[in-house]
Symmetry: C2
Subunit: 397 residues, 2 copies
């Protein structure tokens, strides 16, 4: 089997001491062989970390040469010193590869409000420069280097054909919601050897994000650091991509991002279920999104799934307060395929069977069908457990 | 001491069998001696219970003669039969007092999706008719009759002078968020002997609600049954009220509603803290409301307070994703009076002292000061505990 790593990238990770456990990487470096197209999607939080400010100003671009990420410290709410430290981190990487600091993107994740321990990072970078490579093991080390409270690395890859050439996509992400005290939070990088212009990369990344990374929730808390980067080396020899070929590539990217995104609520702190919310029959995407998000964020819905309770009242009433206008008499609700609610009244169903279907499977399907149109939409959430509350209330005390 | 019950009302409660525990009242009746002014504020949920549809169509009014409430069953999502049962309940009360069913308001709270056991209600109503009175004990029985999972009755009263006459206000409410499986949820009735027109009653009730009952959250789940009624008998002999006298009365009503409203998150399922969120320096009320609500609904903020953790990062980042534009460098955060965050950077503070102040008090004060204007706003929330999750995930299973 050939390497799943797209041509044009080398990767590496290292433990420099930001995390206490010496077996856990806390630096992750991706180096591009040549100037590379990069686009980003960033948190909409008004309070943003230094690396988000840095990357926003430098993407989209066709001159990116590296992405350096540290975990264990978010470099958020750190004032001017935070900006200085971030620039220094980019500068050290730039110097090593003989490029400008503006060609280096940065990401940070971890505790908020503490300045980066730059001595550890300086020493760690020297080490990580020695450990770069383009094998799957290098990719895995880099993927572990962006983790915080994740149970394990979150990666996905795909191969497809574009303009008759084999193209590779591979991605890593981290996050389990803004779950841990001040952990900040969702980071992801996708690499491909397809050829994209900066504008193409930006556009398809935004579109794909709207249907994948923007459709997940653990606790509804949007962090200060969320970043998703797409790097396209163009090394696959596809030439320019447009029309159907671009659509095809976008579909592959979307599937990859969905694979990555779903791993986040699946690993939501303390979660015992991945909840997939399917919305059908809405008038438009915005309505479908609002209903899905309201149901997905409801603590009562989450608790019901935790307990294997086919509690349709919580789901129907959450849809009802989403702010979207719909005909309540047209609403149909299914959980794991079982019809629970129709035409404004509960349906007779075997509670034990439905409850057992929730308990027996890690994934729970909640499908809400409306009669306002034909827009479909999907959203993913984790359930809410005693362990989530314990973790988030007892962490510091 | 004179009775706190305003003139013109008789009340009573009875256990008819909707609740299992025979010591818990599940019917509550308020009867007006004469035609009485009444106004209501109702849930904004699109999925609404039969009594909400009924009352909405009949308020404001100056002809109301009774309010009949049952607890233990919400009569929500019960289709046509639900409407019929609700009308029958109003009709039985109307017949007893020789008035029209349109002069009787209804409220229901309890499990969603089950038809009312009308035989029990019919028999119970005959009993409650025999138990009416205007002593405090009658009021208390009626107040217990609207409870579901509340730990105890929630009541408040005030006396003031309007146009030189002594005026009484007394209120009852129930609810602990939409906390229990399908419990639906917030009900409240306020009685006064002041003289108001239906339009006045409607307007001041809406205004007061915006600053009291609309400023509380337990889990952000808006129910299908929320109802707040104001009944004004005019028996205090105030004559028409306007200008400063009306403002004065409104201030008293607001204080009463605040006293009632705060009892709901204070009794939030499993809650160990009442969190008061004070917003200062916003450009307008809407911005202040959005920030307050976002912080109040954050599971991470709630968990931090549960654990006595002065976790300013969670509070600041919740404000940041509220959707309100503000200068992050101008934000100042205090918890129980201790400054934790200022000018975009954390402030040095003694974590143990602040933590202890959270642990030592049932009430936690979170004050966020902005630099966009001079609008102030308050919001109340409960914390999130292991008991909340246990209760809501293990109830049925």
């Amino acid at each position: 089997m050939t390497s799943p790593i797209p041509a044009g990238f080398r990767l590496g990770g290292f433990h420099c001491g930001l995390k206490r456990n010496p077996n856990k990487e806390d630096l992750s470096l991706i180096v591009c062989d040549e100037d590379t197209v990069a686009a980003g999607v960033y948190t909409t939080n008004l309070v943003v970390a230094a690396p988000v400010v840095w990357d926003r100003a430098r993407t989209p671009s066709d001159k990116i040469r590296a992405v350096i990420t540290n975990s264990g410290n978010a470099n958020a709410c750190t004032g001017e010193q935070g900006d200085k430290d971030n620039a220094e981190m980019a500068g050290i990487v730039a110097k090593q590869f003989g490029v400008s600091a503006d060609q280096v993107l940065t990401m940070s994740t971890g505790i908020i409000g503490h300045n980066l321990p730059m001595e550890k990072i300086r020493a760690g970078l020297e080490e990580v420069f020695q450990r770069l490579g383009s094998d799957e093991s290098h990719f895995d080390t880099a993927a572990r280097g962006i983790m915080t409270t994740d149970k394990g690395k979150k990666v996905a890859s795909r191969q497809c054909e574009v303009n008759g050439k084999p193209v590779k996509l591979i991605g890593m992400c981290k996050g389990a919601g803004m779950i841990a005290p001040n952990m900040a939070t969702m980071l992801s990088v996708v690499l491909t050897d397809a050829q994209l212009s900066p504008q193409q990369a930006k556009e398809i990344l935004s579109e794909v994000t709207d249907n994948t990374f923007n459709c997940i929730t653990v606790d509804g808390h949007r962090s200060t650091n969320d970043t998703l980067l797409l790097l396209a080396s163009g090394k696959a020899g596809t030439g320019e991509i447009s029309g159907g070929a671009l659509e095809g590539f976008k579909a592959e990217l979307q599937q990859l991002c969905e694979d990555l995104a779903k791993q986040i609520p699946a690993d939501g702190e303390g979660s015992t279920h991945l909840i997939e919310i399917n919305i059908e029959g809405c008038a438009n995407r915005e309505d479908a999104f609002r209903i899905a998000k309201t149901v997905a964020d409801s603590a009562l819905v989450k608790c019901a799934i935790t307990g294997g309770d086919p509690n349709w009242g919580r789901i129907v009433s959450a849809a009802g307060y989403s702010g979207v206008k719909f005909d309540p008499m047209g609403l149909e609700l299914r959980v794991n395929g079982h019809l629970l609610y129709q035409k404004g009244t509960p349906v007779k169903f075997d509670e034990k069977t439905v409850s057992q279907s929730i308990k027996d499977s890690f994934e729970t399907d909640v499908t809400l069908r409306f009669t306002e149109g034909d827009t479909k939409f999907r959203y993913w959430s984790s359930d809410l457990t005693v362990e989530y509350v314990k973790f988030n209330s007892e962490y510091r005390t």
